[in-house]
Amino acid sequence: MQSSTLAKILEAQEAKEPAGLLTRIEDGAQCLIVGDRQYGSLAVGGDTVSAVTGALRDDKPGMVETPDGRLFVQVFNPPKRMILVGAVHISQTLAPMAALAGYDVTIVDPRGAFATAERFPGVALNHDWPDEALQQLAPDSRTAIVTLTHDPKLDDPALQAALNSEAFYVGSLGSRKTHAARLARLDEAGFGDAAKARIHGPIGLAIGAKSPAEIAVAILAQVTDVLHRGALRAAA
């Protein structure tokens, strides 16, 4: 690998831009693709670029047969994101756990006393109302959204925005009773059964979690399950 290629990959990561690197195994010749730009000693055509675009979309590196030969595609996608609504006790343990699992974490809470740098060192904090915050954050299919306030004033607008997005995971803290009331409110707001069924509630895998840290483990485990096995489940 040329040092200049390495520098371009790091630049793309800094800018949170997806980058795909093609390598010809026989001689190590490479082509780095960032947006519509190509760098490196290997020049490739449109069909090969499409294969890279597909690998980036599916987050799936691997060997591909292309008109330019058999090449390895390495995928450098920006980190997956996790948006936590509610700067609460569970978030204090879930934020660092999710970061260790590779997520870029943002905490949304307009209540200034909760979302402070002292309580959440090193975590991105957003103090806007959840509907406005989610509009700015523009969640995509690589984003998980977790609501933890169990206050309808904050959770409901966040959930509505979440259900209008392609977020791969939507979960909401609250008892069965709280969750049933929440679903009834979403129903009144015009959300159908398919949309409501996207919400994982009561949140987390059933592992008997009690403490905030244990609940964070249950939530992160469920997000992981949906990320890697969600499609399998849907097909079963």
């Binding site: 040092s3 520098a7 870029d104």
Partner: protein
């Protein structure tokens, strides 16, 4: 806050070693068969002294990969390494899980 162990850390370390004037190689898992501890795309950066960041297995083959990487750093040509139960070195550096992996090792020039 983001991951402490992702690609960005491995590549940033490789770049930092190069800036410090060290010889550097990158190892990447390019294919796997059966059960393997780390998925395709996993990377390990190695410097000329054998220091490493990242992983290409659960610790089963890193030692052997570092050994090969030092030769790639010295000679320049990339290598495709193959580890698994069918490898003649299986008893020394094979994967206990019975899988197979191919690892591409290249020098950072």
């Amino acid at each position: 806050m983001s991951s402490a162990l992702g690609h960005e850390t491995v590549l940033a370390q490789a770049a930092a070693w190069r800036r410090a004037g060290k010889g550097v190689a990158l190892a990447t898992v390019v294919s796997t068969w059966g059960s393997s501890p780390r998925p395709v795309g996993s990377q390990l950066a190695i410097d000329e002294a054998g220091a490493m960041v990242g992983s290409v297995s659960g610790g089963c083959i890193e030692g052997a990969v570092v050994h090969e990487a030092k030769q790639v750093i010295a000679e320049g040509a990339p290598r495709l390494l193959d580890y698994g139960v069918t490898n003649e070195m299986a008893w020394e550096v094979g994967l206990a899980c019975g899988g197979k992996v191919e690892v591409f090792v290249e020098r950072v020039d």
